[in-house]
Symmetry: C2
Subunit: 214 residues, 2 copies
């Protein structure tokens, strides 16, 4: 049987206690986080139980402030997966007035993707761009979405309020992230292979909580 | 700028190519997977870009076969998060006739959790147990759900077809997983702190695909 013992923490205190443990272990590792980025980095570590996020998250200049401002001013959000969509705290998001979009299950997207031989995620970015409003792009899965975001930006077709670029995986994931880092869009990117819809949602939630979302 | 180059892979081939890369890197690490468990382990590595899943996944005797049989025979599923719910491939799941349940947003659950000072996830397990049918329990977030599953099992109130026990985090996560491993329920557990709703969904999808879900 286990040698782990039960830690008696009230439900409402579990998250706080988790962040405490993360802080203690970061200190043991000799890692000091930039206070502005700390709530975001810790929430990513929390969501994956993976301290790699202490090192792989890259922020454009002023990205945290811009991200908080975008959420709290009611900027709308496009996600590349239903999992990221699900993971975004609706109660917090609902306070600010933005709309949360996901087009991955739309029939026109599937048809267009098939016609063009592209991924649905990439076609979703075209559909988002066509709405003609600045958006927060939340990409937790598809590198092809990030690649398309860069193309749309270079073509002057979009002007993202923030790009959360944390797809996960093995094919073109690192390439796509570097394309975003190498742009002058505001971004938060998890460099390397790691990321995911859970991490994407965690970054959104961290920004909203920093902005008074709870 | 990045030194990564774009790998030209057709959308439909990205997943296959990812699994190839995972296989190659496992071989380089000298890791040989049990063929029966391989599709599950690789899908977890794929979903988190984290090779830790090559070592932390623990299976009860015959869990893979039991899991495949449960899904394909139309066993229903209860999840502890909307993210896990979202991540389960609905097209695959829909082939088998089971129902996918999630009670986390139910008002009676919130009220009961508040009344009892318990987590909503734990109350959700009581609600699932009360349905009186064998279920596949898919836990990607809440250790308290796993703890309750063990209590319900010990009390003779449930007889899970499979427990997918992969909560992630820092408070009682390891403790809760060992409780499942120390039982005689059929289980697939990610030992340690890691896991998550994405990993939980990945295990479901792997079992369904092995059972002909696509």
């Amino acid at each position: 049987m286990s040698t782990y013992t039960f830690e008696n923490v009230r439900p409402m205190d579990i998250e706080r206690r988790s962040f405490e443990i993360i802080g203690e272990e970061l200190a043991e590792m000799g890692i000091t986080l930039d206070p502005e980025k700390e709530p975001i980095i810790k929430r990513c570590i929390h969501t994956a139980a993976d301290f790699d996020y202490a090192k792989n998250l890259v922020f454009s200049e002023g990205a945290v402030e811009k991200g908080i401002k975008a959420f709290t001013s009611g900027c709308s959000v496009i996600t590349d997966t239903m999992m990221a969509y699900s993971g975004i705290n609706k109660k917090a998001f609902g306070k600010f007035g933005g709309t949360l979009y996901n087009f991955m299950s739309d029939e026109d997207v599937a048809a267009k993707a098939k016609e063009l031989g592209e991924t649905r995620a990439s076609v979703c970015m075209d559909k988002a761009a066509a709405m003609g409003e600045p958006l927060i792009y939340v990409i937790g899965n598809a590198p092809t979405a990030l690649i398309r975001i860069r193309e749309l930006y270079d073509a002057g077709k979009i002007n993202p309020a923030l790009v959360i670029g944390v797809p996960v995986g093995f094919v073109n994931v690192e390439f796509s992230k570097e394309l975003i880092i190498d742009s002058d869009m505001p971004y938060i990117v998890a460099r390397g292979r790691k990321g995911g819809s859970n991490v994407a949602a965690a970054i959104c939630n961290a920004l909203m909580y920093m902005g008074g979302g709870r």
